[in-house]
C-alpha cells in the first residue's frame, strides 16, 4: 500500500493505493494522526485504487474517525468499490461514515 496526501482548501485528502490490511494499517493511521496533530480537522480518504480493506483496516478507519470527531473534525470516505461497499454494509459501518461516490462529492459542503 502507498498513499498520497494533498490539500483541497481546508480538507486533507488521502488517496490510498493498494490494499489496506493488517500488515500496513498502522502506516495510514500514523499519517492521518500526524495531520490531525498539525491542526487538520477535515479529512477525505479516497479508495479509488483500493481493492480490499480487511477487518483491521476497517478498525483503523473507525479509530481514526473517533479521534478526528473528538477534535471537532470529520472523516469522509470516497469511491469504495462494490466489494468494499458490501463490507461496510455488512458491518454497518456505512452508518458511521459519510461515503461519497466520488472524491469531488466528498469535498462538497465540507
Amino acid at each position: 500500500m502507498s498513499f498520497q496526501v494533498s490539500k483541497s482548501g481546508e480538507v486533507t485528502v488521502v488517496e490510498v493505493e493498494g490494499q489496506l490490511i493488517v500488515g500496513n494499517r498502522q502506516e495510514l493511521k500514523q499519517k492521518v494522526l500526524e495531520q490531525l496533530e498539525n491542526g487538520d480537522r477535515k479529512f477525505v480518504i479516497d479508495f479509488s485504487n483500493t481493492g480490499y480493506i480487511d477487518s483491521s483496516g476497517l478498525g483503523v478507519l473507525v479509530s481514526l474517525s473517533k479521534k478526528i470527531r473528538e477534535q471537532g473534525g470529520e472523516l469522509r470516505l470516497s469511491r469504495l468499490n462494490e466489494d468494499l461497499r458490501t463490507l461496510f454494509e455488512l458491518t454497518k459501518l456505512d452508518t458511521l461514515f459519510k461515503i461519497a461516490d466520488t472524491k469531488e462529492q466528498a469535498l462538497e459542503g465540507f
Binding site: 493488517v22 477487518s55 466489494d83 458491518t91
Partner: protein, 146 residues
C-alpha cells in the same frame, strides 16, 4: 486444484496477502458466482489467518500457522490452525451492535460468519474450518448463522 494444498506460515502478518493470493490462484473459479471466490472466500481466509497470527499465536514469531485448503466438487474447505491456547468464539460480541460500532476490533470473525457457508471451531478453539459452496444459492451476504 487437484489435491489438498497445505501451507505453513510464519507468524508475520505481511505474509497473509501473499499466501491468500497464492491460494486464490490455485482454486477454481466460479462461473455463476465469481464474487463468492473473489470476495467471500478471500475475506474469510484473510480474516482467519489474521486472527490466527494476532490472537491465536499472539504475534509470537516462533509460532506458526498451518493452512490446509481442499477444493472438491464445488466445495472449498479451508482449515486454519494456530499454536495458541484457543478461545471461545461464542464470547466474541456482535460488532454491529450500537454499543460496539465504534470499537476498532471484533469484525474478523463476524465477516467470516457472514460470508462463508460454514464456520466451525475445534473444541480447543485454535483451529477454524471454513466452507464455501461455489454454486450455492445463497446471496453474497448469505453465510453461516451467527
Amino acid at each position: 486444484m487437484d489435491s489438498e494444498l497445505v501451507l505453513e506460515l510464519p507468524t508475520d502478518v505481511r505474509s497473509i496477502e501473499h499466501a491468500v493470493e497464492y491460494v486464490m490462484r490455485q482454486c477454481p473459479r466460479s462461473e455463476c458466482h465469481p464474487h463468492r471466490m473473489s470476495l467471500n472466500f478471500r475475506v474469510g481466509l484473510t480474516e482467519a489467518l489474521a486472527n490466527a497470527m494476532l490472537y491465536g499465536n499472539g504475534y509470537d514469531p516462533t509460532k506458526r500457522v498451518r493452512m490446509e485448503v481442499l477444493a472438491d466438487e464445488g466445495v472449498i474447505t479451508a482449515r486454519i490452525t494456530d499454536q495458541g491456547s484457543g478461545f471461545d468464539p461464542a464470547a466474541v460480541p456482535d460488532p454491529t451492535a450500537p454499543e460496539n460500532l465504534l470499537k476498532p476490533g471484533g469484525r474478523g470473525l463476524f465477516l467470516m460468519r457472514k460470508l462463508l457457508d460454514e464456520v466451525s471451531f475445534n473444541a480447543e478453539g485454535n483451529c477454524v474450518t471454513l466452507v464455501l459452496r461455489l454454486e450455492s444459492e445463497t446471496s453474497l451476504e448469505g453465510g453461516a448463522p451467527a
